[in-house]
Subunit: 554 residues, 2 copies
């Protein structure tokens, strides 16, 4: 039965493997929540499915259940009222181990087939997933659909393609024949077996629960590991649905559904730490704070640890021949999901003497004000603004905005906007501040949320120096540069490469520095403190399994 | 100039890349120290070159040299009297960093070309290397030639092939074109750059200084990292020659020779720990004790750490239809280089009720005695014996033999043999002891050197259980099984795979469990405490570099 999944999805797998090699645009999952792509009734059905989950225990039948947990609330202003199984690890983990022993022997084609079928089924649930992601993360509907659904599925499929490439590169057998001068050659037959590490743990975040979790989840699954998914207490639902879907595929294939399980928990308990240090856990994929990520890197010695943590993303403005395009693009990047993205820019470095543009020279203040006006203009229509901004995921971010107001001269202030549909939604526009290069203590740390600085530097050379050093010391995932001078662009390219940051040059159109496309863009490099790995490259998958060999004379 | 090396060695590289995929027998470096392969005068010249190095400062001109260090002595009974530059790390490391900055930009083809040319030149020095390895490790000449020369070069070339495969799989550019319904597509050009980690540290061991160091050294070099080589104080010379050769190739190519440097030191100082914790060190390859390896894994957080440590390798004897072949094979495996190999067997599990053979049933004692007699017979001719045994690398091993005598009933005792050429050589035959499964405290730890146990178990099932558990808890690199029963063989195959041990089945001829062939055998699995990585697989190379990308609209 599972072999059928593998056979059925051969074209999909082959295309994905080709895509990660050529790295052009490709996706099998439509990013448009349109009736054409998903059917006339898909949105209604997804909404109904989401509504039907509210104020009930989530249907997940797992061993070791001792009660209920879960207190998610929508950033759009209501309680979800969904509970999840509360788990006793000492009962759950032995059940996962039993499942893992059989999974281990199912072999690469079954592992890969189950992963592919799961992704295809998740794609069919993209509307339900969109509402689940929207009402836990605060993303507006369109982003919740795309990032929570098809783009997350793309990142999952990308990981499957990398994992399959690696496990299928190991030959199953080899004939070894060593010449012995005039004597008969020594002849051996060798067998190579892909051996999974064991049990993998995926620790989700509260802003992109599926997008950031799927790569680790599907990479571990495709390399034969059992997976325990531990969502952030604030964003459980989309991962609970994910676990439910995969368990359904496993059961249908006659496999133990406990190969994939959910450990939900509430804020403030120590379930994550306990789980992460269990000797049975051999792989950990983590997205979250630097503090927690570094703790895992330094303490979970029994596991391969893959982390994505915090960073400070820069924009370097040197010059432009499309001021309007630049301002529009930056304003959108700062506003999109209220800057609650690990790829959102925070510090915009501009020479204190200003910049050259096609419309003539602009002073530093003129550049700062242009960006401020760009934000105001983008968000002037409230109906449109809430679809860009979404809602603030948690109260901590509101406090951070409040405190940041004192960090510099305000270019545009953050203000609350009413949401036409959701009365109690936490919708806030970005706060843009001015700073000078000497104020590093203020701007040189991640202020996660809709907070950004326009930083006056001595010149572009200093902008580059600060951006590079900041990436190396504090981490950064993205860097953006605007310049009409190829020499400057090349210097920034070198600085970005040397500090392990993905660079976007002169974005003035419909691509934003926040966006990272599966199969083409490497998300994070693993070469600075923002992450110790990349989504997705070979290193992300190659150590999730080992190879055991046996040999005998023929 | 370096591009020429890359072009020149294309056929070699292509064959090596093909070999690691098909994993059959292949080697470009002749393992026979014969005039036919290496020229009529090669041995004489190699011997002369070695002799010319004795009792002198080794010619290595490095920055940060503050004096001399080195007190190597040959296990065959004389002092080498060679000194090496004593290095001030605070002066050396900045020089390496400067070299690394240029090396980083030289690019994949130059990195790979330099590595290939270095290996080819090292091959030409195989006789000089043989004497250098022999008179530091205690290996007899033939093994010193093979393991120290061509086999080490093979392991180095294997690492180059893996590294080149990975870095060349990253496309240099991609065109990304995303359809926009009725609008013009979004078009971007993306550039991907392979970014080395920085400076790599290779920590050598005293028994296989080149064989165990070349994979890490050449993997790091081929992925663009600078490499600092820190040999074991007891076996510096062969790595000093290696560094000298690579520095020569670098200089000839117009590159900074400080891309590869040597940090020699004497026993008992803390140079290794200091070096390993330097923030500039981003990769560490280590071969040595479990204590030091685990310390690195737990403390060198700034680096990717690859370790090969200690283990307890088992032989499981269930039954055989070739008793003589089995005994001969085991006796040789225990005697070769006096068991001073991480692949040498230590514990031989035999059912207490004995085993079935083609010659009828043998009791436990008969099996133990047969192996003991096999050892005595193999080593009965002293001239031949010393060429199998080599010499004991250090005094600690002699003490270990002394202490091990009390651990069980002696089947054959260890005795000193005179060496026909070297009066003061430390040549000792293996100590074989009896134990029972209940004596785990005695035999269940690595007793590095010529010490082995024949362990009486309840039955083969218990033998398998102990061997598997021991590998998982204490580590093991090899496992060997003798059985005429396919069911037993399959059970052992599963146990070996689940405990990450390379299995050899029914070796009765000219292949020994100690031997691991480059391009075909994975050496260590990284799946048990004997090592956290494998020589060589993709995971061994893929995290030695990162990919930095930049993108811009077309």
């Amino acid at each position: 039965m599972p072999e059928n999944f593998f056979a059925r999805h051969q074209p999909l797998l082959k295309q994905a493997v080709a895509a990660i090699q050529t790295r052009g645009y490709w996706s099998p999952f439509s990013e448009m929540p349109s009736p054409k792509a998903y059917g006339e009734t898909a949105n209604d059905e997804g909404k109904k499915a989401f509504d039907a989950l509210l104020h009930k225990p989530f249907p997940l039948d797992q061993p070791g259940t001792t009660g209920k947990t879960g207190r998610e609330e929508s950033p759009f202003g209501f309680e979800l009222g969904i509970t999840y199984p509360k788990v006793n690890l000492d009962d759950l983990i032995p059940a996962v181990q039993r499942a893992e022993a059989a999974w281990r022997n199912a072999g690469p084609e079954t592992w890969t087939g189950i992963a592919l079928e799961s992704l295809v089924r998740l794609n069919k649930k993209s509307f339900e997933m969109a509402y689940a992601v929207m009402h836990t993360t605060g993303q507006a509907f369109m982003m919740a659909f795309q990032a929570g659904g098809p783009h997350a599925q793309d990142r999952g499929l990308e990981a499957v393609a990398y994992a399959w490439s690696e496990i299928s590169r190991v030959p199953k057998t080899a004939r070894w024949e060593k010449p012995q001068d005039k004597n008969e050659p020594l002849r051996m037959e060798k067998h190579y077996r892909v051996v999974p590490r064991g049990i993998a743990l995926v620790i989700g975040c509260c802003t992109f629960p599926t997008w950031n979790s799927y790569p680790g989840l599907f990479a571990s699954l495709t390399t034969g590991n059992a997976v325990i998914v531990k969502p952030h207490p604030g964003a459980i639902l989309s991962l609970a649905i994910t676990v439910q879907v995969i368990r359904g595929v496993l059961a249908e294939a006659g496999l133990d559904p406990n190969i994939v399980t959910l450990v939900a928990h509430e804020k403030g308990d120590d379930v994550a730490q306990k789980l992460a240090l269990r000797p049975e856990i051999k792989i950990i994929d983590f997205t979250g704070s630097s503090r927690n990520g570094e703790w895992l890197e330094r303490n979970a010695h029994q596991a391969q640890v893959f982390t994505e943590k915090a960073g400070v993303n820069p924009i370097i403005i040197d010059s432009t021949n499309d001021l309007k395009g630049m301002v529009r693009n930056i304003a959108f990047s700062l506003s999109l999901y209220s800057g609650q993205m690990c790829t959102a820019p925070q510090n915009i470095y501009v020479p204190q003497s200003g910049i050259d543009t096609a419309e003539g020279h602009l002073s530093f203040d003129q550049v700062a004000n242009a960006i401020g006006e760009g934000i105001s203009k983008l968000l002037s229509d409230t109906g449109r603004a809430v679809e860009v901004l979404g809602a603030i995921q948690n109260e901590d971010i509101l406090h951070r905005i409040e405190q940041a107001r004192g960090l510099g001269e305000i270019v545009v202030d953050s203000k609350q906007l009413p949401h036409p549909q959701f009365e109690k939604a936490r919708v806030y526009t970005p706060l843009l501040l001015k700073a000078t290069a000497g104020d590093e203590a203020k701007f040189m740390r991640e202020l996660f949320g809709p907070i950004a600085f326009v930083v006056a530097t001595q010149n572009t050379a200093q902008s580059i120096e600060i951006a590079k050093r900041a990436a190396l010391e504090h981490g950064a995932i993205t860097m953006s540069v605007y310049s009409t001078d190829n020499k400057v662009l090349n210097k920034v390219r070198d600085a970005a490469a040397e500090s392990g940051v993905s660079l976007s040059c002169n974005l003035t159109g419909g691509v934003f520095v926040n966006q990272s496309a599966a199969y083409s863009d490497f998300h994070a490099s693993g070469a600075n403190p923002a992450a110790n790995s990349s989504l997705t490259d070979t290193a992300f998958v190659a150590n999730r399994f080992r190879v055991a060999q046996s040999r005998a004379h023929v």
